[in-house]
């Protein structure tokens, strides 16, 4: 098997995640889909790291994880406060900017 398959898998997962972001209305699930996309990227980075024979790809994946953790913390906090004030976690409800 050619290790490029890892890249194909990453692309597939990324696309699925993106489609989830577009389809789901629950903010938490949307967030999970974003995480899925990030993980797909990480897989690609790790595969690239193996391809090029150095560890920089893994470093980037590591940083991605850290940033994703930060993002999840803040994002979930936002979801919780939005839910507190609006009693809804639907992204469609937060559409006050609509004319």
């Amino acid at each position: 098997m050619n290790p490029v398959n890892y890249l194909y898998l990453a692309a597939l997962l990324f696309t699925i995640g993106a489609a989830g972001v577009l389809i789901r209305r629950n903010a938490i699930v949307v967030f999970m889909c974003v995480e899925l996309m990030l993980n797909a990227c990480n897989l690609a980075f790790v595969a690239f790291s193996r391809m090029h024979g150095n560890l920089d790809g893994q470093i980037i994946a590591f940083f991605t994880m850290v940033v994703a953790a930060a993002e999840v913390v803040v994002g979930l906090a936002i979801i919780v406060s939005v839910f507190r004030s609006r009693h809804s976690a639907s992204v469609d409800d937060a559409s006050l900017m609509k004319l």
Partner: protein, 631 residues
């Protein structure tokens, strides 16, 4: 000596400025001041004339360059004057007759509280007219031309409280404007063709331009002349312009302003000589107007309008003569000068009659006035004899020469023109005799008016009669003086060229014919108006008479063709504007509105929709990248 030329214009211009801006302080001396400045201009003119006589024929022209008006590269417009024999003739006529009319107006306008203003306008008119005839280029001439139009507008509408006067002034101004367009187009054509509009270079280089261009310039100049000189088809303003005070009618519509067209054509003689087509049109216009004016004059009961018709007809003579080329120019100008004398005299006489008759203008309410106003009767009578061409008087000499020149045109044209001019002479004799008989002979026909004021005919004051007497002298002797030893021909020949015409019949025969038709005209008029009392209310008359009373339907024609036509044109343009132009504009706006209404829905406020756009955009970016790599 040439420095005096500017003073000719400056004197009346100063008068206009002082009288119009001076305010009430000048009310008491305004008329004297205006008259004195007009007289000063006349004196300067006489001095210049004497000086000019002291020099030989080809050396007589004077030039004065005052200053550069609009110097732009090749466009050099100068305030520069040219005083040659032709201009000199006009200067003397304008200032001389003008001064007399000023004097006359002192008496005529005595009771008008706006007399000072009136004299200001008269001075303005003189200044503009002098500028017109003294200019040495067409642009400055145009300036004077417009000034004359303005002054005539102000003077015709002087009694602006009368709606008819205000309307007449507007009409004169508008009709003149049509002609002015012709002049401005002619000047533009000249500039594009010759690169200049000074008289000298333009008139000397007419041979260089194509015949089409020259004909175009000639026709545009003719249009201008038609407007100013009240020639068919722009004649309709003249009759209405009689709404102005009578001195205005005498000054503007008899002696000076209407002659501007004749001056223009004569001055531009070289252009017309180079274009036989344009000349033919000039002749036709002159002939048609000649008959038109005469027919209108025959039917009018309003003494001033009858004289206005006569003016139109006589100017028609001049235009016709000017259209004949070098055989006619001199006689056109000669007739212009003699006409200036006797027509001014006739108008002043008419004014005098009106003055004594409580401003009544209907000749059917005159009658037998010769007993009440002898001076007016005699001067008017001499003017009458002059205009009908009674042998020996001014009109005879000039009109006879024009008829001769018309025959001398040669061929069928010559015969037709000769016949027309003879017919015109007969008609002139007829309508003038009619005026004379209705006004001064027969029984008195005036009645008390609605308020019970019966007119008390009386002779006018000295200030009015003296100018009439002077003009009567001119009417009697000017023509003979000019014809003595062909002095007028020799005087003008260096400017206008002159050729002796060779009529197919002898000059004596022409003269005899003229006298015969004159006698026929007088006789018919006498049979109609002298033998039996004139009815106070006008009989219904024949179809031609009724048409002539309505100025041969000129206004109806203008109304139907121009006003209605214009209305239809604008209506159709409005329709096109509303449907087509607005349709396109509104359609564009509506389609953009609809499009943005659709596009607006893309902006639905849902984060997920925006995410789709972002995602789609990313896909497109990847596609573009791949495509670029593939390429």
């Amino acid at each position: 000596m040439e420095n005096l030329i500017a003073l000719l214009i400056a004197a009346p211009l100063l008068g206009a400025g002082l009288l119009l801006c001076g305010g009430r302080r000048l009310d008491r001396v305004g008329h004297i001041l205006g008259t004195l400045l007009a007289a000063a201009s006349f004196v300067i003119g006489v001095v210049l004339f004497a000086d000019m006589l002291g020099r030989s024929g080809d050396d007589r022209a004077l030039h004065q360059h005052l200053f550069s008006w609009i110097p732009v590269e090749s466009f050099q417009a100068d305030i520069a004057f040219q005083l040659d024999q032709l201009s000199m003739t006009f200067v003397l006529l304008i200032t001389g007759v003008g001064t007399l009319i000023h004097i006359y107006s002192i008496g005529y306008m005595e009771h008008d509280e706006r007399r000072r203003r009136f004299f200001g306008y008269l001075n303005l008119f003189l200044a503009a007219m002098l500028l017109l005839v003294l200019a040495d280029n067409y642009l400055l001439l145009y300036f004077g031309w417009e000034g004359v139009g303005l002054a005539s507008y102000l003077l015709i509408g002087f009694w602006q409280h009368k709606p008819s006067a205000a309307t007449a002034a507007k009409k004169a101004f508008l009709v003149n404007r049509v002609g002015d367009m012709g002049l401005s187009i002619a000047i533009m054509l000249m500039f594009t063709t010759f690169g200049t509009f000074a008289f000298g270079p333009v008139l000397e280089s007419t041979g260089q331009a194509s015949s089409g261009t020259i004909t175009g310039i000639g026709l545009m100049l003719l249009l201008a002349a038609c407007g100013k000189s009240a020639q068919v088809p722009l004649q309709s303003w003249l009759g209405d312009a009689m709404e102005g005070p009578t001195p205005v009618s005498a000054l503007i519509h008899a002696a000076t302003m209407v002659t501007a067209g004749v001056y223009l054509i004569t001055r531009s003689g070289a252009i017309f000589n180079a274009s036989p087509d344009a000349q033919l049109v000039v002749v036709i216009v002159g002939a048609v107007t000649l008959l038109f004016g005469a027919i209108v004059g025959c039917a009018k009961d309003d003494i001033k309008k009858a004289l206005a018709g006569s003016t139109m007809s006589q100017i028609g003579y001049m235009i016709l003569a000017a259209g004949l080329g070098p055989i006619g120019y001199v006689f056109a100008i000669m007739h212009l000068v003699t006409h200036g004398f006797f027509k001014a005299g006739l108008f002043l006489g008419a004014g005098s009659v009106m003055h004594g008759m409580n401003d009544e203008v209907d000749m059917r309410k005159y009658g037998g006035l010769r007993k009440y106003m002898p001076v007016t009767f005699v001067t008017f009578g001499l003017g009458y004899l002059a205009i009908i061409g009674f042998p020996g008087l001014s009109g005879f000499w000039s009109k006879d020469k024009i008829i001769e020149a018309a025959f001398a045109k040669g061929g069928t044209e010559g015969w037709i023109l000769g016949a027309v001019t003879l017919l015109g002479a007969a008609l002139t004799a007829y309508y003038m005799t009619r005026v004379m008989l209705m006004t001064f002979f027969g029984e008195k026909r005036w009645q008390p008016d609605a308020e019970g004021n019966e007119p008390k005919p009386h002779e006018s004051p000295k200030s009015m009669t003296i100018p009439m007497i002077v003009l009567a002298f001119g009417s009697v002797f000017a023509g003979g003086l000019f014809s003595l030893n062909e002095s007028f021909v020799k005087w003008l020949e260096p400017v206008t060229q002159f050729e002796h015409g060779h009529p197919p019949i002898s000059a004596a025969a022409v003269t005899t014919l003229t006298v015969v038709v004159l006698l026929i005209g007088v006789g018919v008029a006498y049979l109609q108006y002298g033998r039996k009392p004139v009815p106070v209310t006008a009989p219904r008359g024949s179809l031609v008479t009724r048409a002539a009373r309505r100025d041969l339907l000129q206004d109806d024609f203008n109304h139907v063709v121009l006003v209605r036509g214009g209305e239809h044109l604008t209506r159709s343009l409005v329709y096109v504007d509303h449907t087509l132009v607005d349709g396109v504009v509104n359609g564009t706006a509506a389609s953009f509105g609809g499009l943005s209404g659709r596009l607006r829905k893309l902006q639905n406020g849902y984060a997920r929709s925006y995410a789709v756009s972002m995602f789609g955009g990313t896909a497109v970016l990847i596609a573009a990248t791949l495509l670029m790599r593939a390429v």
